[in-house]
Amino acid sequence: MNVPLLRRMLTTHSRVFLNYAFGSAFYIVLMFWLYPSMADNSEALDDLMNELPDGVVNAFGIQNGFGTLEAFISGEFYGLILPILLTIFAVSLATQLMARLVDRGSMAYLLSTPTTRARVALTQALVLVIGLILIAAVTTLAGFASQAWIIGDGYPLNAERFISLNVAVLALFFAIGGVAFLISSLANDEKRATGLSGAIAFGMFTLDLLGKISEKIEWLRSLSLFSLFRPSDIVSGQGAIGLELTVLFAIGLLLYAAGIYGFAKRDLPL
C-alpha cells in the first residue's frame, strides 16, 4: 500500500463517495417514512400480492409482505435499488481507478516513482473497498436514525437482521467490485472496461432475476453472484448467512488478487 496515493485518491473521489452514500441514505429514509402508511394497509397490500404471479413476487423479493419494516425494505430497497446503485458505483469507480489511468497515461507518473505496481494496484483496490464500506455504513446509520426519529417505536426494526442485511450487501459488492477491478486492471481502454464490467455485473443481476421468476430456469441463478445475496431470507431469519458471506468474501479476495497480479505482470501501453 502507498499512503500518499491512498490519500490522494480518497480526496479525488470523496465527492463521488458522498454523493452515492447520501443518495442511498436519502432513499432509505424515504422508504422508512413511507412505511407506516403501507403497514396500515398491509392487509390490502398482501391481498394484492396474492393476485400477482408467484414468479414476480419471488423476483422482487416481496414474498415476506409488508408486515415488518425489514421485510418491506428488503424487497424494494435491498433487492433492487441498492444493488443497482452499487453496481453503477463499483463499475465506474473500478474503471476510474485503473483503466482510466492507463488509458490516459497518468499511470506512467505513478509507476515512475519508487513504488511497485502491485502496491499501486493494491492501494487502488483499497480505495474501491473503502468507498463500498462507506456507502454501506452511511446507509445502515441512516436506517437506524430514521427508524428512531421518523417512525418511532410503533414500528420496530430488528437491529440484528438489519445489520446482517447491510453486511451481506457489502460482501456481495466486495465480490462484484472484484470483478470490475480485475477487468479494469487488465484493460487498456477505459470505455471497454466500463462496457465489459457493466455488462457482466448487470448480466448477473438479470440472470438472478430471471432465475427467480421461473423455476424452470432457476439454474441461471447459479451463474450469478447475486444469488448469494438473499435479502428476503435474511430478514425472515431463514438459515445462516455465514456461508454466503464467506464465499463472497473469498471470491472477492481472489478477484482482487488476480487483478493486482495481472496488472503487475502485464505490458502497459504508457
Binding site: R8, L110, T113, K265, D267, L270
Partner: protein, 295 residues
C-alpha cells in the same frame, strides 16, 4: 549509469525494437534520435519498466531495472512523451503529491524550478496549455535530484525562449553529474545539449556517434534564388550537388563542405539564400536512405 543491452520487443503489429544496446555514462547527456515511429518511445518504456522486453536487459546505476525494481526509480526522473497528470489538481498540488510519492524532500528545488520556468503553478491542470503542462512535467522530472533523467521529446510545446532556458537547465544539471537520456526527432534539439547520440531507424540502432561527428555528417539544404534561370542552370552544372532546379531557384545539399558552395555561388548574382527546413531523414540520409554505404 544507464546500460541497455540487446533490448528487443516485438508487437503483434510487427513493429517494435530489436537488439538495442547503448550506454549513457555518468554526467553524460545522451541523445536518442529518430523519426516518429522509429521506436524511441518503446525503448524508453522498456527502460522505465512499463513493458517487459522479449530479450535484453536494462541496468541503472549498477542495478537491474526490471519491472519489480521499485526503488531503482527513486534515482530516475521521467518526462513522458505524452503528458497526462491526475484529474482535479493544480500544478502545485500534483507536484506536492508526486514529491510525496518520490519520498524525497524536494520543496526547495521545486520552487526554484517553478521560478525558473516562469509559470503559475496554482493553475488547475485542466486549464493549462500544452506548454505549461510541459513545464510542470519538467519540474516533476528534475525536482527530486535524480541521478538519471529520461526525457521523451522534452521541448514540444515550449516557445524558443523557454527552449533556451530548458537547455541551460540541462547543462547545469549535467555539471552536477546528472545523466540524461533525451529523445528527439529533431537534430538541432539534440545538438544543443548532447555529448553523444544514438540514431534509431525502424526499431534498430543505425549508429552511436559523438555529437561533433554527427554535426559533420549532417546534410543541410540551402535554397538559392539567382537573378535569372541561365545562371541557375550554369551554377547547377558547376559540380555542386543540387537537389532540385526550378527556374532561377536551386536547392543545394551540403554535407560539411560549405566553402565550395560559397565559392561556386559567388560567381553569379544572387537574390537570396535560405536554409530549408528539414526532417531527420533528410539530415541523415546517410543513415536513413543509403544504409549500404554507411560506415
Amino acid at each position: 549509469m544507464l546500460i541497455v543491452e540487446g533490448l528487443t520487443k516485438r508487437f503483434p503489429s510487427g513493429r517494435g525494437i530489436a537488439d538495442i544496446s547503448f550506454e549513457a555514462k555518468q554526467g553524460e547527456v545522451f541523445g536518442f534520435l529518430g523519426p516518429n515511429g522509429a521506436g524511441k518511445s518503446t525503448t524508453i518504456r522498456l527502460i522505465m519498466g512499463f513493458m517487459n522486453p522479449d530479450r535484453g536487459r536494462v541496468t541503472i546505476d549498477g542495478r537491474d531495472a526490471g519491472r519489480r525494481a521499485g526503488d531503482v526509480r527513486s534515482k530516475v526522473g521521467y518526462l513522458p512523451g505524452e503528458i497526462s497528470f491526475l484529474d482535479g489538481m493544480s500544478g502545485r498540488g500534483f507536484l506536492d503529491f508526486l514529491g510525496a510519492m518520490q519520498r524525497v524532500d524536494s520543496k526547495a528545488k521545486r520552487e526554484r524550478l517553478i521560478e525558473r520556468l516562469q509559470f503559475d503553478a496554482d493553475t488547475p491542470i485542466r486549464k493549462m496549455s500544452k506548454g505549461m503542462k510541459q513545464k510542470v512535467g519538467i519540474v516533476a522530472a528534475l525536482m527530486h535530484d535524480p541521478a538519471l533523467v529520461i526525457l521523451d521529446e522534452p521541448t514540444t510545446g515550449l516557445d524558443p525562449l523557454m527552449q533556451k532556458t530548458f537547455v541551460e537547465l540541462i547543462l547545469e544539471e549535467k555539471r552536477r553529474g546528472t545523466t540524461f537520456l533525451l529523445s528527439s526527432h529533431s537534430f538541432p534539439e539534440i545538438e544543443r545539449t548532447c555529448d553523444r547520440a544514438a540514431i534509431i531507424k525502424d526499431g534498430r540502432l543505425a549508429a552511436v556517434k559523438d555529437i561533433r561527428e554527427l554535426r559533420s555528417l549532417q546534410r543541410k539544404l540551402f535554397e538559392l534564388v539567382f537573378d535569372n534561370a541561365e545562371d541557375a542552370l550554369a551554377f547547377s552544372c558547376s559540380g555542386i550537388e543540387t537537389a532540385s532546379v526550378d527556374g532561377s531557384r536551386v536547392v543545394v545539399a551540403v554535407q560539411g563542405d560549405y566553402d565550395a558552395l560559397v565559392r561556386a555561388a559567388a560567381r553569379y548574382p544572387l537574390r537570396s539564400i535560405d536554409a530549408a527546413a528539414q526532417n531527420l531523414e533528410d539530415v541523415f540520409m546517410h543513415y536513413y536512405d543509403r544504409k549500404e554505404i554507411a560506415p
